[in-house]
Subunit: 240 residues, 4 copies
Amino acid sequence: MNASAKKRLLTLREEVYQANIRLVEHGLVISTFGNVSGIDRGIGLIAIKPSGVDYADLSPKNLVVLDLDGKKVEGDLNPSSDTRTHVRLYREFPDIGGVVHTHSRHATAWAQARRPLPCFGTTHADYFHGPVPCTEVISDRQIGMDYEEQTAVQIVDAFKGIDYHGMPAVLVASHGPFTWGRDAAEAVYHAFILEHAAEMGALSVTINPRISGVKRTLLDKHYLRKHGKDAYYGQGKPHG
Amino acid sequence: MNASAKKRLLTLREEVYQANIRLVEHGLVISTFGNVSGIDRGIGLIAIKPSGVDYADLSPKNLVVLDLDGKKVEGDLNPSSDTRTHVRLYREFPDIGGVVHTHSRHATAWAQARRPLPCFGTTHADYFHGPVPCTEVISDRQIGMDYEEQTAVQIVDAFKGIDYHGMPAVLVASHGPFTWGRDAAEAVYHAFILEHAAEMGALSVTINPRISGVKRTLLDKHYLRKHGKDAYYGQGKPHG
Amino acid sequence: MNASAKKRLLTLREEVYQANIRLVEHGLVISTFGNVSGIDRGIGLIAIKPSGVDYADLSPKNLVVLDLDGKKVEGDLNPSSDTRTHVRLYREFPDIGGVVHTHSRHATAWAQARRPLPCFGTTHADYFHGPVPCTEVISDRQIGMDYEEQTAVQIVDAFKGIDYHGMPAVLVASHGPFTWGRDAAEAVYHAFILEHAAEMGALSVTINPRISGVKRTLLDKHYLRKHGKDAYYGQGKPHG
Amino acid sequence: MNASAKKRLLTLREEVYQANIRLVEHGLVISTFGNVSGIDRGIGLIAIKPSGVDYADLSPKNLVVLDLDGKKVEGDLNPSSDTRTHVRLYREFPDIGGVVHTHSRHATAWAQARRPLPCFGTTHADYFHGPVPCTEVISDRQIGMDYEEQTAVQIVDAFKGIDYHGMPAVLVASHGPFTWGRDAAEAVYHAFILEHAAEMGALSVTINPRISGVKRTLLDKHYLRKHGKDAYYGQGKPHG
């Protein structure tokens, strides 16, 4: 690795570390659950949380570094047990720079209920351009293969006909949410908004069990005023 | 602007700033969501939160100042994307001095469920003289027009036959709550009470799905002991 | 008032002040809602929170002191608007030394749902010897009379056949809970346990809508191991 | 007791004290509810929380020490009223080193609803190898006998055909959860995870009342990747 690549890797480690810490601050993880990774596509390297390590013991230095084949490049610890899901997503979704997996309570509850999260309102529509898809339950054949990589395959299957740019989240059936973004920080932000939308969605269903999602025109209006090419929300800077 | 108007504007900026901060302290907003505005009708000026700015970066100085036509008078930043809703409400409801919009979880859940919030008890009746109305879903024609201004039109339509003095809150269908008051501080206080009533309302429906609202005589008793001309709650000072 | 009575009144003011503060610390009240009173039956005086005063501004000194007829003996402020309910309860239930009223979210939700809180488990049975009763909705005739005093009449009516010693709590329909105890501190403790039981009760109903209360033998076992004459819970000191 | 046994007992007292404190930090208990015990099988001694003592007043020194017959060996205070349940569990489940009882809200709500907690997802499957069993309601005959010891008998009855090694938790009907582990710390950790799974389970049922548990193959995959002899989660150290 040349000096420039080394410097970029240091930056990536720092960003992924900060994003992992923000996951805790947002209340999205308990114990050692959850993991954030980030990729620098210029140097082809991924940094990810080690497996089963307390967040309090985490540092930029003990993150594990892998290449796009999932081969460890740096690090003494085992990478997150979900690493192969992350790596495969980076290969399948070529524009994403960060991936997050949590067991946050409301998003996980929807995943456990095996229901896509309908877009019930503008909070959701501001970030997710439609219902957040829920994968099929993973097949016994896939469980018997490389389970973690097959989890990514399930996700990709759920995105047939859906643009992952406008839908930076998925519910893995009987498991929990994965989110992504331009970088690790944005992926965490999407995990945070997803949890908020999932909580309000569960409340909406409690209040009115027959409620359906918002109509397409309202969904488009809100998503596009924030993310379309004529977006007019905010101060003209990227948001997240 | 003469010296007296300048001084009043400084006061307005400070009040609106404080009200925005209280929104965060009450847990009514996450991220950059939500916005508070206030008006000084003597000088005809409105101060409002800038769009997409973190609450931590907010100050009395970076608020945006507008006139009652919605024209920017002071400020470098874009005003809240919901500004035209605020401005139109100030024109339609001539006695209000502050407007708040949040995505607070329980009030938003009722808005997403597209149900008025029934008055289930005296906590609600102490502040809202009846069920909190829910607007119709905005029409495609209105979405295609000036969406944010049409949101205010939807609100005004929902208040046919309802006195906005005794009902300082509304649920915008598929979106979230707006509240108002004599000034920005009272509008925030109403947003806080609305969230509390909406939370207890969701719980009441969970416990007894067939529950209906309180009877008119009890509603009147509680609202009027606090707000009628013979009010006897508190120490004879305005409450909020 | 002689010196001994004055000293006892100071003690009562301090106890009632502390109990009001604990109400806030337990998260049982928001804003200026809720009120605690205490009585010293030896001197025949009641101390109660003033109406509409922020808890931050409360002190032993600004509590209002009344006699058992509800006549103000000391204090510059108006007493809690619910004072006549407290005073009447002290007359009707001669062994109680403290009364608490809150709008705590889960207990109020049951009151709004107009359902007694069934005894679903031993947490409840440890403190409340049966379902917590819910009053009838107050009649229009009673609303037109002295409303706050009639609230106490409603409570007493709900206790026909129930011993208030073993049931230190009630849900006032469409309103919220009242609790009592040997003194103000115990009344607050009962409000705290009631809220916990009401929260778990709402969850139990969510999980199993057809669930019924515990059987009598288990209810008796738990209540009596803590409160019966052969009680063996704790260290032999009063518990609270 | 020889010097080595004394030293081991000091260590046990410290571990059990720390575990009790962690129960409070995790928000699993309110007031004086809940209790943790631990056993050192080498010296045959159990340390347990005294009954009805505030957690703030707890110290390694005021724990009560008992032998496996439940006879007090050291301590001035009465042991937890649930002591006989703990002692009997240590006799019935010979490999456990710590026992926890809480009234944590969601796990207790399931116990009150008298429903086993289905395994709805991988969070649950990572720690509990199947649905968490719920005991039968205790019989009147058992209530009339040694109630607390019979509670353990109910638990053992619920484990016919279930290996307590892979299922370190139970819901006692109309009462609340008990959990266990290799030591007091792990038993507390299991109480914490159980509460999290119970909360997400209640939410899943709200979102989809007809949801069933995960399939066996997925349950096995997750449980065994963490606990099987070929476990690959974490860093190869015991997890807890």
